[in-house]
């Protein structure tokens, strides 16, 4: 599959809308997620309190980020974890690859993390002598298909069962010839089992970093994180610096919010805290543990007043509830992070210049903010990115001209009223039987819908006339 670029957003959208089944495929996942989340919230009357607590925990940690980072580092080192720092994604990827090379790794297993995608780790391995094995079932599917992820929780949601049947038959050593989903999952289980056990390095992300212990926490339903991390000699964690929380007790409210918001389940099946390397005589576990702490635009967000976005716990609820995402899907955004959260993040990871169109692909309906488990004001953040785009003149000139001209008029009410009256007369010319099917300068509207006929004259005109008549009569 050809990988979309963020700067080609408009083109990507047309491509997505031209795919006849895409909408159906997306809705299969998002509708279910939406229904199940609604149920989960209804069954948890304390949800609003949890949400407020979760937000406060994240805000507290962001407020004292340097303190907690230093504390995390100290405690991680004390556990024998080797701590690395990376300013950019490229640096982070290089650190990971270098560790693998030092250990002469041939096979590397990876448990899904969006940060890994963000820093280009998957791509970096593909250009190396090492074999990368994705162990999350969805990541396994998109690795076989050569696709980028289309959702942060269900990265392979754009692939149908038929696609998976084909891929597994082509790539699995002992494939199933059944088309039953259960058999397909078993086929992946057989294929991945030996790979787990013979891997040289296990790479994971982290849902939470606990400052007071230097631990990282993984959250999965498949249990692939533990299977990825435990057998190899070396465990490498890659994590964004915003994943910090003060302690395990502070991660608990966020765990309550995360799964309910993501899949509608009350909790994921596997929550594991990883505390450094194997203890002497432990029955299993890696002998060496590394953690790569990644900035990649996060401190920039802090500096640019976007710190609310650093609360994000990557649940995907905003995209599941986004009317735009539901129609264009994840690939159109041309970024690892699609939907509302992606439209805020991508300008900081790539640049606003390449990713400003996404910030405009939003109706400002507020649904994403309404369902966000940590109250991120996504519409407000998108709007402030639009304001930055405006100042930096990234907006196409024609749009700028139209908006500016309108604003120029609107600040002169007399002229505005006059031109409104002219507008009404102009529109009347094109209207037939109460409707306008086509009119110059309105193709954006009339391409897809009719425009109602305006009033005979403007309200203001009629109102003034009425008032005059009244006072004249009196």
């Amino acid at each position: 599959m050809q990988v979309n670029k963020p700067e080609d957003f408009t083109k990507n959208v047309s491509k997505a809308l031209a795919q006849p089944d895409l909408k159906k495929i997306i809705r299969r996942t998002t509708d279910k997620a939406e229904t199940k989340r609604t149920e989960a919230v209804a069954n948890f009357p304390e949800f609003e309190n949890a949400r407020s607590q979760g937000q406060k925990v994240k805000d507290h940690t962001i407020k004292y980020m340097d303190h907690y980072l230093a504390e995390f580092e100290k405690n991680a080192l004390a556990q024998g974890t080797i701590v690395h720092w990376a300013s950019t994604g490229e640096e982070a990827s290089k650190i990971v690859l270098d560790i693998c090379r030092q250990h002469k790794a041939k096979k590397v297993t990876r448990s899904k993390s969006m940060l890994g995608e963000e820093i280009g780790l998957t791509h970096a391995f593909d250009n190396s002598e090492m074999e990368r094995i994705e162990t999350d079932l969805a990541e396994h599917i998109i690795q076989l298909a050569g696709d980028p992820p289309s959702h942060i929780v269900w990265p392979a949601m754009h692939r149908s069962r038929e696609d998976v049947v084909k891929l597994f038959r082509e790539f699995h050593e002992d494939p199933t010839y059944s088309e039953e989903i259960t058999d397909l999952v078993r086929s992946a289980r057989r294929d991945l089992r030996n790979k787990f056990l013979t891997s040289d390095i296990g790479i994971s992300g982290s849902n939470f970093l606990l400052a007071d212990s230097g631990s990282s926490c993984t959250v999965t339903n498949e249990g692939n994180a533990e299977l990825t991390i435990t057998p190899p000699k070396v465990h490498i964690v890659t994590a964004g610096i915003e994943k910090l929380v003060p302690s395990m007790a502070h991660a608990v409210p966020l765990l309550r919010l995360l799964t309910r918001s993501a899949t509608g389940a009350e909790i994921t099946q596997y929550i594991t805290f990883h505390n450094g390397s194997k203890r002497p005589n432990d029955a299993d576990g890696p002998q060496e543990c590394h953690i790569v702490l990644v900035d990649n635009g996060r401190t920039k967000m802090l500096a640019e007043g976007m710190e609310e976005m650093l609360r994000c716990i990557r649940c995907g609820a905003c995209m599941n509830h986004c009317v735009v995402y539901k129609h264009i899907g994840g690939h159109a955004y041309g970024s690892v992070y699609p939907g509302p959260m992606g439209s805020v993040l991508t300008p900081h990871l790539d640049s606003l210049e390449v990713a400003n169109k996404q910030t405009h692909a939003c109706t400002m309906n507020g649904r994403c903010e309404e369902v966000c488990p940590v109250n991120i004001p996504l519409p407000k953040l998108l709007r402030s990115l639009r304001a930055q785009s405006w100042q930096k003149k990234y907006e196409p000139l024609t749009n700028r001209f139209v908006v500016q001209s309108f604003a120029e008029l609107a600040k002169r009410p007399r002229l505005f009223q006059l031109l409104s009256s002219c507008g009404v007369i102009f529109m009347k010319v094109f209207s037939r039987k109460g409707w306008i099917k086509y009119m110059p300068f309105t193709s954006g509207w009339t391409r897809n819908r009719d425009l109602i006929e305006p009033g005979s004259t403007t309200f203001m005109h009629q109102y003034k006339k009425m008032k005059k008549a009244k006072s004249g009569g009196a």
């Binding site: 639009r386 002169r412 009410p413």
Partner: protein, 274 residues
Amino acid sequence: MSQKITNAGRTQPNTIECLNISEKKVGLFVTCLVNTMRPSIGFASITLLEQAGCTVEVPELQSCCGQPAFNSGDDEGTRQIAYQTIKQFENFDYVVLPSGSCAAMIKKNFIEVFKDQPEWLARAKHLASITHELLSFLVDVCNFEPRGIELDGSFTYHDSCSGYRSLHVYEQPRKMLSKVKGLDHKPLNSHSECCGFGGTFCVKYSDISNEIVAEKVKNILATEADYLLGGDMGCLMNIAGKLNREGHKEIKALHTAEVLAGLAPQILGGKDAS
């Protein structure tokens, strides 16, 4: 003044205000879409406010609430528009708009562009505190109930996003419409899901907007209602325009105020409601 500022935010019923409402002067902000496209909504608003006991005035020097500039990221343009809106409306007891999104613009967004101008920020906050969306104002502040209005048929209701999410308008229109004789409510599936209008969005991303409104239309048709009602001209224009393009003449889109003011028969009969 200072007390009014602290009252900014949610519209809440206030019994003391209810009693004294007749002494209150209401400034009607008509909004540009109503001004040009559907004057009858403006006249319906005046009728309803007067029935509710308010003294209504429509300042002639009004234009737009500034959403197109604000949502495009043009903060300076927004400020320029806001200056004169504030000047025109800040001395009323209440400012009322027959639109959730324009009301939300004044109530929630003006303050965003005056962060660095304390004097204007205070004035914007004051204006926010006295500004209301029409339908919620009628119920929450005026305790208004329509009387003697009849309309045969059934309606379904589209909650506009700004009204529903920013201003918590939901029960108020339904409550008033339940008093209209002969009118049944047919609930809309995904009633609060965006219709795809989104101001400049619908022309900027016309094709995405089209997909969204097509879905809204599907849900509306499934109700088999005779009327589509709502509180925002933008959404109504968008949905009605799509209904008409698809040839669905059987369902008519009306602003809730038009129905409550008893103007529906006239409008449906094709006459200008003024």
